[in-house]
């Protein structure tokens, strides 16, 4: 009973949502479904009444009418949930465009103002303008824009299935070491310690080095973003089951709320918790990372508890 009540309540919420998005009642799928159900019931009762008046065995007629109605209702349900999914995807896409345009605009506004500052005559004291830190700001933001654009292009490749891995024999532990080094300064300034003891004697794997680095850097970047000052991040590589290497990263950060966990690898998804702690992020990093790992013959999973931290791991086959 409670289930039906919450289902009906849910439908009304969606109807409210339709109104908010400028859809009229007759364009709103959940409402149309209710109308369809109602019409169906009326048609059923009407047919039964007609059948009982003019047909010898009204019970058989009633069963046929009921079956046809149930069939129509089920088909209708599938059509409407299909529409719902398309609408949901559309909404996510437009949110994505607004996130991406914001992501690109942030470094652009930094470019614009830094160049204004370096070239203009706003500042009287030129020693400030000559400070080469401003050039460093330009350099860092150029990198940031390149990363954002690369992420977009990579997503596009995954979508279009135009994904070619450039595989060679590589050492996972060496790639990890390089990526950890890349984040050392940032971690230090954020007061976070990355603990990584390079393991010895692991076999090499056949994978795309650049893409793998992208996956590892994405996971380290996430762990750092959602860690608190003074926190630790542990990275380990071990030999897993079935001739696989297992790469794992564990943080003591803010964690992912349970309600958001099932969406975490979904494209464009950003947890409320993520937005609360980090304003930048496209909601594409983990989507791409998992797609890359899967394409390389492995898998990616995680466990997480809000306020305690998350552990992400992926496996890759040993060839």
């Amino acid at each position: 009973m409670l289930y039906y009540y919450s289902m009906i309540e849910n439908r009304f919420k969606i109807i409210h949502e339709c109104k908010r998005n400028g859809l009229s009642l007759w364009q709103c799928p959940p409402f149309l479904f209710l109308v369809m159900g109602l019409v169906n019931i009326i048609a059923m009762v009407g047919s039964y009444l007609l059948a009982s008046r003019y047909v010898d065995e009204p019970e058989i007629a009633a069963v046929i009418v009921a079956l046809v109605s149930a069939f129509i209702l089920i088909i209708g349900y599938f059509i409407i949930s299909g529409f719902n999914k398309i609408a949901e995807l559309n909404k996510m896409k437009s949110e994505f465009i607004s996130i991406v345009s914001h992501q690109l605009r942030s470094p652009l506004s930094i470019f614009k103002w830094t160049v204004d500052l370096l070239l203009g005559d706003i500042i009287k004291n030129q020693s400030i303008a000559q400070d080469n830190n401003y050039l460093k700001i330009l350099q860092e933001n150029t990198e940031r824009m390149i990363r954002t654009v690369n992420i977009l292009l990579e997503t596009n490749k995954i979508e279009a299935d135009r994904f070619v891995l450039n595989k060679s024999m590589i050492s996972l532990e060496a790639v990890t070491e390089e990526s950890v080094k890349h984040f050392t300064d940032y971690a230090k300034s954020a007061g976070i310690t990355i603990v990584y003891a390079k393991p010895e004697g692991l076999p090499k794997i056949f994978a795309d080095q650049e893409r793998l680095k992208m996956v590892i850097e994405n996971l380290i970047d996430n762990a750092l973003r959602y860690s608190r000052k003074g926190g630790n991040i542990f990275i380990a590589i071990t030999r897993g089951f079935n001739r696989h290497l297992r790469w794992e990263i564990k943080d003591e950060g803010v964690g992912i709320p349970e309600k958001d966990q099932k969406f975490i690898f979904q494209k464009f998804f950003r947890s409320d918790n993520a937005s609360r702690y980090q304003t930048s992020g496209s909601g594409l990093g983990l989507y791409i990372a998992r797609a890359l790992v899967k394409e390389s013959g492995g898998d990616m999973q995680f466990t997480s508890k809000e306020n305690e931290g998350s552990t992400f791991w992926f496996t890759l086959p040993i060839t």
């Binding site: 914001h102 930094i110 103002w113 830094t114 500052l117 203009g120 706003i122 933001n141 304003t279």
Partner: protein, 144 residues
């Protein structure tokens, strides 16, 4: 004699009008991008404003109450509390509700602009659409 002193006081108070007026003004700059804090923040300091920096929404509300600045420059997408919440809280609080707030954001949808103005923002500037000197002129127009 008395009149002369008053006149002198008046002279001292108003003669170096522009610099002393700016010198005494305090701006709370709420922005989570350290690079933007550095560019706009240092320029504002260089031309004589006192700048208090906040990197998230919670700090913004606390610092606004603590410093009672003459102007608040407010970004909208912020960690911990977004700019709309900050604006709402600042406008509810008796001690801070009269402080002019300039929204400096890269969000440009009409919904966001309308919402910010409804909540009491003085003006709304889209960062990429304004040069640094234009932003400074706007600030000077409001509190200079």
């Amino acid at each position: 004699m008395r009149t002369a002193i008053s006149a002198l006081d008046a002279f001292v108070a108003f003669a170096p009008l522009a610099p002393s007026k700016i010198m005494s003004k305090k701006i709370l700059f709420v922005e989570d991008e350290p690079d933007l804090q550095k560019t706009l923040g240092s320029v504002l300091e260089n031309i004589g404003f006192e700048v208090v920096s906040a990197f998230d929404g919670e700090a913004a509300v606390t610092l606004a109450k603590q410093h009672l600045p003459d102007l608040i420059l407010l970004d909208l997408i912020l960690p911990k509390k977004d700019g709309f919440q900050v604006l709402e809280e600042i406008k509810k609080e008796e001690s801070t509700k009269r402080i002019p707030v300039i929204i400096l954001s890269n969000l440009e949808s009409i919904n966001e602009i309308e919402r910010a103005i409804e909540l009491g923002a003085t003006t709304y500037l889209i960062k990429t659409n304004y040069r640094l000197d234009e932003v400074i002129d706007k600030i000077k127009n409001i509190i200079g």
